[in-house]
Amino acid sequence: MTQAQSGPAAAGNLPPALALHGINKRFSTVHANKDVSLSVAKGTIHGIIGENGAGKSTLMSIVYGYYQADSGTIEVDGERVSIKEPQDALGVGIGMVHQHFMLVNTFTVLENVVLGVEGGMTLGTGMDAARKELEHLEKEYSLEVDPDAIIGDLPVGLQQRVEILKALYRGAETLVLDEPTGVLTPQEVDHLFRILHALRDQGKTIILITHKLREIMALTDNVTVMRQGEVVANVKTADTSREQLAELMVGRSVLLRVEKTPAQPTDVCLAVKGLNVIDGNGVRRVKDVDFDVRYGEIVGIAGVSGNGQSELLEALSGIRPVDTGDILFKGENLAAMDGHLSRWVREHGMGHVPEDRQHMGLVLDFHAFEDTILGYHHDPLYNRHGLLNYNAITGQCADWMQGYDVRPAVPEQKAGDFSGGNQQKIVLAREMERDPELLLVGQPTRGVDIGAIEFIHKRLIAMRDAGKAILLVSVELDEIMSLADRILVMFDGMIVGEMPQGEATEQQLGLLMAGESTNVQQGAS
């Protein structure tokens, strides 16, 4: 473990923009922040990285006045301050850009910006002044947004700019951004990074909370690593590496790339021919798709989110009706069957880890053990004459939780109270422990922390090595490139390219994903 100290980067002898000394915070039994001290130099971008539950969000909630620390002090520009509510944080120049935007969707940009600082009982004059100030801010930091646009009509990238404008309008000198890139497209991420650099160059201080190593390396000057409520390192970004940070975060060395042997594919397990899927609005989302998946291989489908992958997965798993085309699985054409297709495929050895675990994978209000039988509740193992055998279900759930390292391993805990990674492990256990012949996996590691990602990837590889067929859909290019044996690229509902793992480069895939397909197309079957 390194314990390097970060000096003020370019700030000379100025006091730090924000300094925390010995912050402690307990929630009943959980010690969320243990004696946390850190110092953020003026005019720098400071990253705070850690896994989910490492205490970074708690720490920033204390800085922003949602919580009171049990002990410890906060200094802003060298002066001790007391922050009891968000208003106090704004008063000392700390502004927060939340992970879930705090915007009123039916309001205009301008109305959102002035909310709470309207400048008078009536709106007239205050709004005019605000409009001028907003124009000034937009110019200064290249944060262009139409002040009269309705928030709900804006893409998330622009909504985030409004959040930043809100903080700046309130006079923030230090901006705290909580997981700002989770909802953005790659282009929007690039733009955000440019804005943040511009803000720093104008003397603002930026604190970036994230669990993504890539962002820390690309953006920050200094980084604080947190693990289990403690600060484990303060380092200069230039002096560290992704591998070192990952190790600090998790507390052991982590494989960022999965190690695996070449695939040994055998017979075809799933064959898709000329598949077309039309969604509820009558839009054709999957267009003439052909491919197959063999036993003993992982086929990865790459693509920017919203290019038909979700609809394809849903059609294959029997949730969404097929328009035309064939889906051949174990000698049956699923496209020609009707009735409870999603039940039939489960009973015949197809597992499905849906893309959105919180809406499709789990019932968040259920106990974890109840969620472990969703879709399999007809099985006589759990179900005798319509009565559930709770002992069998909880016992099995406890075993699975051990096997998949779900924390806490409490079958009676509500699914919604587990962290994202642990929720995903519950879904994976349910779908993989039934020993399916084909596993459909959508976004297996979305919102999952780095230690759990490694675990999930290893499990998928082990399943492949046991001779099962796996279809992986992911928007994370890294994930596709390290896991899949064969990579298909989807764009606008079509498969626009296919290549084996060894031949694919990030650049090539990126071009295909952006719809720039040319000579790479090979036609799938």
Partner: protein, 324 residues
């Protein structure tokens, strides 16, 4: 000017009188629901106000003291709703319904104990009611065709609460769209988190909104028992609170469309009264029961088919519980 025109003018005149409590109650509901609190208890608040206004006016002989009593009663009921739903995150529909049921029983019970007239309050004399205000020259102009008719029948000759309701609509619209309070009110019903992070108290906003709701319902209830009628009778609101709620949804939670919806319902009601027993060409006499159902049939039809998608304030019905 034929007989038809006279009937038309008289129907419009009746429309205004029927619409007044609807408009006031719907505006009351607008303030509550825009702040994110469902108010199914408009009915109960009006009924409670109607009772205390009539009881106070009967005892003191002053409609103004009655009005004060009605407003205070309604605001107290509204605060009970706020205490249950805002402070203690209770279910808003249950709380509203509980108030309705409690008041429906409490009014007649107290009335019986105090006045011994079978749960009613004593008939109010002319001086203890809000009575018609004749505008200058109304009598003189009544015979002037068209303009005189309209002036003397539609504009002149209503009681003060009718005029109050007319003024309340533009005032409510101004408050909602042109003031700081209105901006925050609209925000708190859409996204209480945004309001909270902007340093504004969500509970404070909702309490203030519900005070306004109580005030307006108080005026509406007082109108029923001391202006429109001359005393309180059991269940005299007769579903007007729910009808106001329907008008609010029909008007998409906006002041002017909501008022128009109230006028439409009131017009249907006025026509209904006029149509009773009238022999229509071709159809003949329509049974009274059918005609009486007309405003409600209209409500269902409008809500089902013609409103389009009514998008409620997003946070409506959800108690705000601070996270993190």
């Amino acid at each position: 000017m034929g007989e038809f025109f006279t009937i038309f003018i008289l129907t419009l005149d009746a429309t205004l009188r029927v619409a007044t409590p609807l408009v006031l109650a719907a505006l009351a509901g607008m303030f509550s629901e825009r702040s994110g609190v469902i108010d199914i208890g408009l009915e109960g608040k009006m009924l409670g106000a109607a009772f205390s206004a009539a009881a106070t006016a009967a005892v003191t002989g002053s409609p103004w003291l009655g009005l004060m009593a009605g407003i205070v009663t309604s605001m107290c009921l509204s605060m009970v709703h706020a205490f249950a739903c805002v402070t203690h995150h209770g279910n808003q529909v249950v709380s509203g319904m509980a108030l309705n049921i409690a008041v429906a029983g409490l009014g007649p019970t107290l009335g019986l104990a105090w006045f011994h007239q079978g749960g009613q309050t004593p008939m109010l004399g002319h001086s203890s009611r809000f009575t018609a205000i004749d505008w200058p020259f109304a009598k003189a102009l009544a015979d002037v065709p068209l303009i005189g008719h309209i002036y003397s029948e539609i504009f002149s000759g209503h009681n003060i609460i009718v005029y109050f309701a007319m003024v309340a609509v533009p005032v409510a619209a101004y408050v909602l769209y042109r003031t700081r309070f209105g901006l925050r009110l609209r925000a708190v019903g859409e996204s209480p988190e945004a309001v909270d992070t902007a340093g504004i108290s969500v509970a404070g906003m909702r309490y203030r909104a519900l005070l306004i709701t109580g005030f307006l319902c108080g005026v509406a209830g007082t109108y029923l028992s001391t202006a429109h009628s001359a005393g309180f009778i059991r269940d005299m609101t007769a579903g007007k609170g729910y009808l106001a709620l329907a008008a609010l949804i029909f008007g998409k939670w906006k002041p002017v469309p909501t008022m128009l919806a109230c006028l439409l319902f009131a017009f249907a009601d006025a026509v209904q009264i006029r149509l009773q027993g009238v022999e229509l060409p071709v159809i003949g006499t329509i049974p009274v029961q059918f005609i009486q159902a007309l405003p409600y049939v209209l409500t269902v039809l409008l809500l089902a088919g013609f409103v389009g998608k009514a998008i409620a304030p997003k946070a409506i019905g959800e108690p705000y519980i601070k996270e993190r």
